[in-house]
């Protein structure tokens, strides 16, 4: 039994040393990685829009992206996070302001023209449009 306990404590020591080594290796890799992480930086494209939406309760968020794709959902959810307390209504365009996050700017412009809206701002493929008849 004592031998087994000794083996257990040797295992405990080895695993903790290995974990610490890996944690530091991960930290060094993170320090050296200056590229932005796609999944974690999608929301930055929406920064600044919160100033346009001051006192606006809800805005539309139109996308033609496949929402089964995690990146598309992540983009919508980070946009929502960035623009709180304004609520983003996914794929509803009856509001005064509508954000277009489409597979290409051409697709977004076609949708904006089709809906009779006016494009106001563009940033990294995201287009903000004004709906004169919006609520």
């Amino acid at each position: 039994m004592k031998n087994l306990k000794n083996i257990f404590f040797i295992g405990l020591t080895l695993v903790s040393v290995f974990n610490l080594y890996q944690a530091y290796a991960q930290a060094i890799a993170q320090l050296q990685d200056h590229t932005s992480i796609p999944l974690h930086s999608l929301g930055y494209q929406f920064m600044g829009l919160e100033n346009v939406f001051k006192h606006v309760h809800t805005v539309g968020y139109f996308t033609d992206k496949d929402l089964n794709n995690p990146l598309a959902v992540a983009q919508f959810e980070q946009a929502q996070y960035m623009l709180v307390p304004t609520v983003l209504d996914l794929n509803h365009t009856q509001y005064r302001w509508v954000i277009f996050d489409c597979t290409s700017p051409q697709v977004a412009m076609e949708a904006i023209q089709h809906l009779g809206l006016t494009p106001m701002k563009a940033n990294h493929g995201i287009i903000l449009a004004f709906n004169p008849n919006g609520s």
Binding site: V15, N19, L20, Q22, E77, Y81, P85
Partner: protein
């Protein structure tokens, strides 16, 4: 700078409350660590009663409430407010050095993911921003359109962030990031110094804390700003207090244990389940101490109150739930059950855990029946029953495809239990 003032206020509230319960007889370092964990929970509770229950956007009220509590506790403590006798030993030095070593990877990871992980921006920090920036319109976060953000989930972590933003007067993304690091370090410290106090063994206590916190997968989850880490911290704190109450003959620490379990119920729905199970087992274990039972129930009820109010009167229905036992469209079946029974074994041997579960299996075999007796038995049966309920829920709720659901959530459920499992086996083995 303001953030550290908030930490100081939180610490003061927790410190005085624990001092009132223990009369300064608790190990000083553990006293400090548990005080901060408790104080942060008090902040969140104060923010709940003001922002949520009374719908008060005024940012000074939650701060004032905590300061009032500190003043009140100070006067209650005034007979003996001197610091307890404490001799700093080499073991304490090694413990603090280990915490310092663990801080670096946590801080780097926190800075690398300033917005946290997916559930941080889609759930926990999102709710915090709605409460703080939405002011009296905070209820927008319960909008059915935001069903992806788990609108029915409890609010303790978001409200702790809100309390700090109240103090600073503005939204600051560094607050959830710093809080995630603080929660990880508190978990490490409470586990390390708790094991040291309970067993007197320095090296295994240091290794246990390192294994739990330095696991790279754990570092990522701790800095993802998920409520699972808060759940894990309070579960660990509750059981440490329970074990210390027995060892140091400090029965009032059991009251603190119940407070931690009550706070834990407001971290996640899973926290409510495990707190319910643990409290029932503790009360059964303490059934011969009839005089104490009343105080234990009262302490738990007070800490549980925000959960009850939110769950019964505010939380919207869970949109991601289909009862597979009654549904004809998505009924539960044998294949689902088989996946649920088999998947955890693949999770246990997954490389991301770096043999942690192998060590757990070895520890369980070496500890034998000691793990299932007395207070350790309460911990063991709490863990087993909780995992049983979780597995049953996976089977009954057929809203999600089970393989995907298990692959995205089971590791987090286990992650929250890891510190408590390390404590449970550590105390039995050392």
């Amino acid at each position: 700078m303001i953030y550290f003032l908030g930490i100081l206020i939180s610490f003061a509230a927790g410190f005085l409350l624990i001092r009132l319960l223990t009369d300064g007889r608790l190990n000083f370092i553990l006293h400090i660590l548990l005080a901060l964990a408790l104080g942060l929970g008090i902040n969140g509770t104060a923010a709940f009663y003001t922002h949520i229950l009374l719908n008060q956007p005024n940012r000074f009220i939650p701060i004032g409430l905590v300061l009032f509590l500190i003043t009140y506790l100070f006067f209650l403590n005034n007979k003996n407010i001197s610091f307890p006798k404490f001799s700093f030993t080499q073991a304490h030095g090694w413990g603090l050095l280990t915490l310092g070593v663990l801080t670096i990877p946590l801080a780097v990871s926190g800075l690398h993911y300033p917005l946290g992980g997916w559930d941080a921006w889609s759930c926990w920090s999102l709710k915090a921003k709605f409460i703080f920036l939405g002011q009296e319109n905070w209820k927008d976060m319960l909008d059915p359109g935001l069903w992806r953000s788990n609108t029915h989930y409890p609010l303790l972590w978001p409200l702790i962030n809100v309390w700090f933003w109240d103090l600073g007067g503005h939204f600051d993304q560094t607050v959830p990031m710093l809080n995630s690091i603080i929660f990880a370090l508190l978990t490490a410290g409470i586990l390390l110094f708790g094991l040291l106090e309970l067993t007197g063994m320095l090296l295994p206590s240091l290794f246990a804390a390192v294994i739990v916190i330095a696991l790279p997968f754990g570092v990522t989850l701790y800095t993802s700003q998920y409520s699972d880490s808060l759940l894990g911290l309070y579960l660990l704190s509750a059981f440490i207090c329970l074990l210390l109450a027995e060892k140091n003959k400090l029965p009032k620490l059991k009251i603190l244990s119940m407070v931690f379990l009550g706070l834990m119920s407001f971290t996640k729905n899973e926290g409510l389940i495990v707190s319910g199970i643990a409290v029932l087992l503790i009360l059964w274990h303490e059934r011969s101490h009839k005089k104490e039972l009343k105080n234990l129930v009262l302490a738990f009820a007070i800490a549980l109150l925000p959960t009850i109010i939110f769950t019964l009167f505010m939380a919207p229905k869970n949109e991601a739930f289909i009862n597979g036992l009654t549904s004809t469209d998505k009924p539960t079946d044998w294949s689902r059950l088989m996946i649920i029974l088999v998947y955890p074994w693949f999770e246990f041997i997954s490389g991301k855990w770096n043999c942690f579960w192998l060590l757990v299996a070895g520890g369980i075999l070496l500890s034998g029946k000691k793990l299932w007796q007395s207070t350790l038995g309460v911990i063991g049966f709490s863990l087993i029953l909780y995992l049983g309920v979780v597995m049953a829920y996976y089977d009954v709720n057929t809203f999600f495809e089970i393989s995907w659901w298990l692959s995205t959530t089971l590791s987090r459920i286990l992650f929250a239990l890891v510190p408590t499992i390390a404590l449970w086996i550590g105390v039995a083995l050392l």
